[in-house]
Amino acid sequence: MDIILEARTVSKFFGGLIAVNEADIAVPRNMIYAIIGPNGAGKTTLFNCISGFYTPEEGQVLFEGQPIQGKATNEIASLGISRTYQNIRLFGDMTAIENILVGQHPRMKNTWLDAILSTRRFRVEEKAAIEESRQLLKFVGLEGLGDTLACNLPYGAQRRLEIARALGNKPKLLLLDEPTAGMNPQETNEMTSFIKNLRDELGITILLIEHDMRVVMGISENITVLDYGTKIAEGTPDKIQSNPRVIEAYLGPGGAALSEKYRQRKNNA
């Protein structure tokens, strides 16, 4: 199995608080992998460790076998990792298509000198990038909105734009932080099939944080559950669903028994 991303005993402390406690994750290439857990479990912190926003105090993060912890985030982007954010962080004062163009930044080579002199490299690259951005706009369903300022787009469009920007990098690994937050069921379904499409059509490995269990159980192939920074379970959706520790993490102590009782009643009804 080709493991594209691995986190080995990653720990992150904030002063006295242990946000992530020796987490181990191995994501095979082309998989849709989810990290779930109750609020405050350390999911986004782990994400931040993987994407370079934080440097873990302990442990390693390996991308395609190479350690990346401690690297600057722009380097990590150049390696082929892109991400989206829990609370959307677009470049509000730029148009949608410009946001996507920035996403392509690491793949473009022209410098300021090229720009000033309008060299051939500059013109060719820009043209290609713009065309590519148009394609991405279409791909995420935002065709025609390319020249709108990002801050003026409706919420759902902004989420999709953020993904388009992340895709601009032609990433091998895409980290999605709660991609369906704030969406209604229909939008959630669309996003879910969209994410699956990303993997199927573009061959991108997806690592996602999600709260919406339908999404998680629907498309994830493997799930890691965090609680208070520690990994408490890992496995396929079925195994996770019936794992009593996981249920207790969400519902509290006695939750497993409660859930079991509920299931009995459902089966008997």
Binding site: F53, T55, P56, E57, G59, Q69, G70, K71, A72
Partner: protein, 369 residues
Amino acid sequence: MSENSSPQSSKIRISPGQIARLSAGIAVIAWMAWRLYTVLFVEAIYGIDTWTRFAISGLILGGMYALIAIGYTLVYGIMFMINFAHGEVMMIGAFGGYFVFEALRNIPMPTPEDPKLSFLNAQPLLSVLLAFLVGMTIAAIAGYYLERIAYRPLRQAPRLILLITAIGASIFLQNAAMLMFGPQRQTVYNPVLLTRGTGWEIPMGKSVVMLTYTGTFSFVLSILLLIILYLVVQQTRLGRSMRAVAHDKDTAALMGVDVNDTVSKTFIISGLLAGAAGVMWGIHNGLVNHFTGFLPGIKAFTAAVLGGIGNIPGAMLGGLFLGVVEAMGPAALGIDFQLKDVIAFSILVLVLIFRPQGILGEALSEEKL
């Protein structure tokens, strides 16, 4: 966010920024050490009396800086902005004190012994008290309206915008003062009791060191006000509100703290302290004009940063420290006295480059991602 040193496995990454900083730091320290050595041992021109004189004037200056610095630190604590116009608030206080003295100086209270006696000299204590009351009040009012008019509408705006507004307010106030009162520096006529340059004479070394009345008065008052402020912040409800808002504005609001009110009161308190410093400045240094607040403002800000922005004891200590360094610095480093402002600026630059959280550390929750 950039410089991350990581644990066991990966190699040490040094950014060009770090190299630049390191070399700059080493260069500065080396230069300072060389100068200090030269002045203290090789040339040794200054005796203990001179150093004491420097130290005394440094402490007096430092007290005033501390008062102004608290204003910066308090405002930064609750609004995350540098109140660029704070120096002008001090200037307004200084003018307040000046005008009171002028008015009282022109009220005749003749006695048989002295037919030309004025209220100012007949009732010096009352006059000084009045000057401080008026100066501090006017400065507080100025601070209050500054916040209401220029800063409150921009509460949610990005920091850059607030900074520019503050600069604009500063320019406006400076020039308003200049247009109204003229660019000339006005002489402050103290009551005779508090004549500048008079004081207790203390023999030291080969000569005599003077502890001026104005200086002692200023210093003692500064310390008093600083203590009162510290108690207010630590013990009173208002102080708790201020600390709460500084820590987390939204949660404080949810807990029932009236954020607008707390912010206003913070500006009022900053204004009071800066006003006091302004009146002291007039009494001790004797000259006020529209520009009086500019340099002390920047230096007090340096002091606040030095102590750790948002950290109140830090601002106090930073102020005193900066005052002393500014007074003793040019002599200690053997450079021109003209360059004493450069010292303050350089300290600012150095602190911000090498230890932006200040000596005592910031007492703020740093914004994370």
